[in-house]
């Protein structure tokens, strides 16, 4: 009988992280790149929770809270930047962004 061990959760998290990384690399729309960052952050959260159960300590779940807050702050600032860029260029594609080029 198969048993669900910590390894399975870690593998799942790694797959999720890889998919997020892949999307980050191939997509051009800034919004979708943000969603891929969320995928990667969630993959890390899953490893934290799995390790928290594995070692029987609550600190992993506290770390997830902090990641959650940082992710929320990042989304707020990032989306505000995307909106203000969109006002100027009427495009959310990252390839046309060269306003801060030196």
């Amino acid at each position: 009988m198969l048993e669900v061990t910590t390894d399975w959760y870690l593998t799942l998290a790694a797959i999720l992280f890889s998919i997020g990384f892949f999307g980050m690399m191939i997509r051009k729309n800034a919004l979708i790149m943000f969603m891929c960052i969320e995928l990667m952050l969630n993959a890390v959260n899953l490893t934290f929770i799995a390790a928290s159960k594995h070692f029987g300590q609550i600190d992993g779940q506290i770390a997830v809270f902090f990641v959650l807050v940082v992710a929320a702050a990042e989304v707020v600032v990032g989306l505000a930047i995307i909106v203000s860029i969109f006002r100027k260029q009427s495009s959310a594609s990252v390839d046309v962004l060269n306003v801060s080029r030196g």
Partner: protein
């Protein structure tokens, strides 16, 4: 049997949702794929005894963050064609190769029993329940300093979002 089902059902929905996020053309579909991923992740958290974190995940991620995403998608417009040509030559091909290598490496490590976590770090016998009491007890004693710092981060992020979204030109035209 039930244990396997409760792992594989959310896990497969999670991976399907993640693939929708990456490959869907319509941004609203991407956002819905992300909701799928986040909800099934919350279910997995419950099976890992992290009930409170699962609840917060639903509230903050599937609630607040996704609402923000959908707002911005509606604002920017969903019917804009995304340009698909590579700005660096062979970019998609290269990344796909790296991705395949990564996945096959992962598959090897997952299948190979030498890399089992139980061999390296023995699991504990007792179960820790992620109840609000236990989390608060640790958060407000050991982690109180990071907790205070994170409140400053939230204030700064809010102020930054307002400063960025505040359009000076439109404002001056009205006045």
């Amino acid at each position: 049997m039930f244990e396997l089902l409760i792992f594989f059902l959310p896990a497969s929905i999670l991976i399907i949702g993640a693939l929708i996020v990456v490959f869907a053309k319509n941004p609203v579909h991407n956002a819905m794929g992300l909701v799928m991923t986040l909800v099934s992740l919350a279910i997995i958290y419950i099976t890992l005894n992290a009930t409170f974190v699962a609840m917060v995940q639903m509230l903050v991620y599937a609630g607040a963050v996704m609402t923000l995403f959908l707002f911005v998608i509606m604002m920017i417009g969903v019917d804009k064609k995304e340009q698909t040509s590579d700005s660096i030559k062979g970019q998609t091909f290269l990344v796909s190769g790296v991705f395949l290598i990564l996945i096959s490496l992962l598959g090897y490590v997952a299948v190979n029993s030498e890399f089992s976590w139980n061999l390296w770090f023995p699991a504990v016998e007792y179960v820790v329940e992620g109840t609000p009491q236990l989390i608060a007890g640790t958060l407000f004693t050991t982690w109180i300093f990071p907790f205070e710092i994170i409140s400053i981060l939230l204030i700064v992020a809010t102020a930054a979002a307002i400063a960025l979204a505040y359009d000076l030109k439109i404002r001056n035209k009205d006045a």
